[in-house]
Symmetry: C2
Subunit: 131 residues, 2 copies
DNA sequence: TAATAAAATAGGAATCATTACTATTTTAAT
DNA sequence: ATTAAAATAGTAATGATTCCTATTTTATTA
């Protein structure tokens, strides 16, 4: 833990660590405001970006137009439910080898890949379960 | 070709078909305006969305905050250059089998995957080449 | 401990991509 | 030719995110 965090930054990181789903900046804002009603949305954004730059959290983009954040920085994949929009973790091995495949007929230098999966989550599959 | 396209819609699709890179809505707008200086940005957006919904073009999201569009609707992967931001095609086999891997320890129904690669493109690799 | 400097905040304004709205025009159908 | 449907241009609205600035908090130093 190189940098000493401000109170609000610590709060934001703590909150993220309690969550296995992957909140958006606004969700972080709404929740953290319960402990600190004065915190501003700008502060949430600034600190999420800072934490992501430090590598202490991860920014997740799954094409829904909103950034999600994850306190688990270990490499893993995500699933987005096309019904409820939730983003959840997937238990599966890393696919780094596909970078080699991708580089085989390509001129440039491939540094990495982004992969996520989509479909209907376990909750939405069960009819009548609106949660 | 089920639906008869309007003049501007046809123009947009034609333009996309001439491009192997993957223009954004604004790039489409700027270019198509050369043939029809009166076309509005709203029309470009509306028709790109319509064409994508019809399956005649594909919307590509590579996490740069802007949608790109591709007239090639066959399944293939993309590469984003972290230097110049360009989005280009990759020559490689489809990885649909990873959906099975992803579904192995997952509760829901996985319908598909999104994968793209990033790194430095051939052009940006060569130092001094600013193009 | 008081004074000074640096870092961070709250709150609001600005930005940028995209979508929505509406009066008008174009195209199709009768 | 008349009427109805579809699409457009142009502009306003939206929503996520970033930027700006006066003020506050925290750290540093004498």
């Amino acid at each position: 833990m190189a940098l000493k965090h401000s109170k609000q930054r610590e709060m934001i990181k703590e909150f993220l660590m309690t969550r296995t789903d992957h909140p958006t900046a606004d969700e972080v804002y709404v929740n953290v405001r319960r402990q600190n009603p004065n915190i501003s949305l700008g502060t949430v954004y600034r600190n999420l970006t800072l934490l992501a730059d430090l590598g202490e959290i991860k920014r997740i983009r799954v094409g829904d137009g909103v950034d999600h954040f994850d306190a688990d920085t270990s490499p893993h994949y995500h699933f987005v439910c096309t019904e409820c929009g939730r983003v959840m973790d997937l238990q599966m091995k890393n696919l780094e080898e596909i970078v080699t495949l991708a580089g085989a007929n390509f001129d440039g230098q491939i540094a990495g890949h982004v992969t996520y999966f989509y479909g209907v989550c376990g909750n939405c599959k069960k009819p009548g379960t609106t949660s």
